[in-house]
Amino acid sequence: MPIRVPAGYDVAHLLDTGVLILSFAFLYHRRLFGILKLYSVQALLLAAAAAWQAYIQEAPHLYITAAIALFFKAITIPIALHRIVLRLKIHRSVETVINIGPTLLVAVALVGLSIWLVLPMTTSSGALTRESLAIALSTVLLGLLMMITRRNAVIQVVGFMSMENGLILAAVGVKGMPLVVELSAAFSVMVAFIIFGIFFFHIRERFDTLDVHDMERFRGESR
């Protein structure tokens, strides 16, 4: 891949890795507000990564993706979730299904898995693309892990959004992919819908907590 500035490769890596490290931080944080702040920082890094790719690939449309990440994900969504948490009075520490130690071990294994999967398979692509794809896949898998190990509905939404950050990271890292802006916008609509859904469904009224485990008691029939 032609790189516009000599430091382009290093900076892109730095930003990508920052996104991944924040995904690790999600896994050991217990406080809801802390997790929301972390998410905000992750989205900020994503915006920077997208803008950087726009610059070195000379692809101006990626600046739009960066702008969506900055204004929508780093600012609007954390504020909206913050208000939901306050209004629903659930700002206590959050239980995990699996202890934090084993979760982090699994997370390391997942990063290993994605490097092992992606690097040998993509030898035909440029080094930058390959490595940012491996980091992106790790971020996606860690988001999935977060959704599995946390019971709280708000945290599951954050897990989903960090998965999405990984996907956007992959999409901007692949050179010249069309429709990236449209795809990231479509995803943002979905996220907005989910958050709207928490309000709309009045989950709090029905369940007292946003603990998904409690919801499962209401299943129509026992398994």
Binding site: L117, V118, P120, M121, T122, T123, S124, S125, T129, L133, A136, L137, V140, L144, M147, A153, Q156, F160, M163, E164, L167, A170, A171, V174, K175, G176, M177, P178, L179, E182, L183, A186, F187, V189, M190, F193, I194, G197, F200, F201, I203, R206, F207, V212, M215, E216, F218, R219, G220, E221
Partner: protein, 477 residues
């Protein structure tokens, strides 16, 4: 004018207009009208097939699925008008809840037809994501704890599925980019098909795994099926009918498009065995799960998983005969299952419950409805003379010659499922001790049209249709 613009334009315009219509009755009638117009427009495709462009692709494969989708959407809108009206009359739904029901219905149909007509992998993905968004509010329509839980589960699981599918799509572009260059052609399905032989097989393999798992979640393949029974059981019945009859098919259609790409690259992994395994797992799991069901809609939701398993298995086996069987089964299942949900919807209205234990003796208390349900269940269980029997028979015979062990497993799954359905229908239709029924107005026409078509297909498949399916089967490889 390009008929595709009409096919996707009518539902899109209708969705927009209906979101401003507050009267339930007017919207319900207009919904039927819009669906009928869409169906009529879809028939135009058979005579006047538009050329392939960067965004539109119409070939033998999707043309019949477009017609089928528009047809089931039309008949379901007829059923829905009567069904929802009754729900409002008995007070289960307030008209406020229904404010956006018809707009969402048309928006859902729009996304389905977008997936089917588009040539662009990105648009395909966005449309299927849109399908999740439009149906999730309808699944939670009743606002009960169960309905909300079902909607949440549907949302989160399908959201994860759709995310994995996007990663697969990005990988597909990554595979195409060195060969096709940057830009739109590298995401255009028909352009990819011509050049896929030169792509890096390793990336293609990785992409397909993500795509199969991602879109497979929407098909309801085991072990990713957890959302399906809840969403079918807790949502209003017209939505169960379109989820089973349309959404599952359309998601599988996407998987098949990618399978065609993989097959065209000799060095990539064969997609068949993966699909065979997932199909077989779904079939066996669902057929066992059919026994202990206590909720009538959940029962038929598991039956949908079973049948999507059979179809995926057939396409996984591949070859002209198995593909033919898969296509036929896709059509038959879509028609039969939506007919069954029509019947089940009215049955649960009449009985005031969805609990199987409380529904019995239908053929004596509600002869027409009861027998329609019996016929539907007999058809879906795979008994002659219905179309489902023929497609299942073809799946089995085409497999016996090549993989006898697999054929035995399929047969076992079919028989287990058959036993469960017969056991349940005996109780539902012929038990004694009925009573406590409420009056209900029943829309029988869509029900009998669907069952009539399934019966006709079982007795006699018209020659042109057979040739058509054979062509598509060859296309699928």
């Amino acid at each position: 004018m390009n008929p595709v613009f009409l096919i996707v334009g009518i539902p899109a315009a209708a969705a927009l207009i209906f979101s401003f219509v507050s009267s339930y009755r007017i919207a319900a009638h207009a919904n039927v009208l819009a669906s009928a117009l869409t169906f009529a427009a879809s028939l135009v495709l058979f005579g006047d097939r538009p050329a392939t462009s960067a965004f539109i692709l119409i070939d033998d494969f999707n043309i019949y699925l477009i017609a089928l989708t528009a047809f089931v959407a039309f008949t379901t809108s007829l059923f829905s008008a009567r069904y929802i009206l009754h729900e409002v009359e008995i007070g289960r739904l307030q008209s406020g809840n229904l404010r956006f029901y018809h707009a969402m219905y048309q928006a859902f149909i729009f996304t389905m037809l977008m997936v089917l007509t588009t040539n662009n992998l990105g648009i395909m993905w966005v449309s299927l994501e849109g399908a999740t968004l439009t149906t999730v509010l309808m699944v939670g329509l009743y606002r009960t704890a169960e309905a909300l839980e079902a909607a949440w589960k549907y949302f989160i699981l399908c959201g994860v599925g759709i995310a994995l599918a996007l990663f697969g799509t990005i990988l597909m572009y990554l595979a195409a980019q060195p060969v096709m260059g940057e830009g739109l052609p590298a995401m255009t399905w028909s352009a990819l098909l011509g050049r896929v032989g030169d792509f890096s097989p390793a990336i293609l393999n990785l992409a397909f795994v993500f795509l199969l798992v991602g879109y497979g979640t929407k098909v309801g393949l085991a072990p990713l099926h957890a959302w399906l029974p809840d969403a079918h059981a807790e949502g209003p019945t017209p939505i169960s009918a379109v989820l089973s009859g349309l959404l599952l098919n359309v998601a599988l259609y996407i998987v098949l498009r990618f399978k065609m790409l993989l097959t065209a690259n000799a060095a990539a992994l064969a997609p068949g065995p993966l699909m065979v395994t997932m199909g077989l797992a779904s079939l066996l799991l669902a057929s066992v799960m059919l026994y202990r069901r206590r909720d009538i809609k959940r029962l038929f939701a598991y039956s949908s998983i079973e049948h999507m398993g059979i179809i995926t298995f057939a396409f996984g086996m591949g070859g002209p005969l198995a593909n033919f069987a898969g296509l036929l089964h896709m059509t038959m299942h879509s028609l039969t299952k939506s007919a069954i949900f029509f019947a089940v919807g009215h049955v649960s209205q009449v009985k005031g419950t969805q609990k199987i234990a409380d529904i019995t003796g239908l053929t004596s208390s509600q002869p027409l409805l009861g027998w329609a349900l019996v016929i539907g269940v007999v058809a879906i269980a795979g008994l002659p003379p219905f179309g489902v029997f023929m497609s299942e028979f073809l799946v089995l015979t085409s497999t016996f010659g090549r993989q006898p062990v697999l054929a035995l497993l399929v047969l076992a799954g079919l028989l287990i499922g058959f036993g469960a359905l017969i056991r349940h229908i005996q109780h539902l239709a012929f038990g004694t001790g009925a009573g406590g029924e409420r009056a209900s107005s029943v829309a029988l026409l869509p029900l009998f049209v669907h069952l009539g078509l399934v019966l006709t297909a079982g007795l006699y498949l018209p020659g042109p249709l057979v040739t058509w399916f054979q062509n598509v089967a060859r296309l699928l490889g």
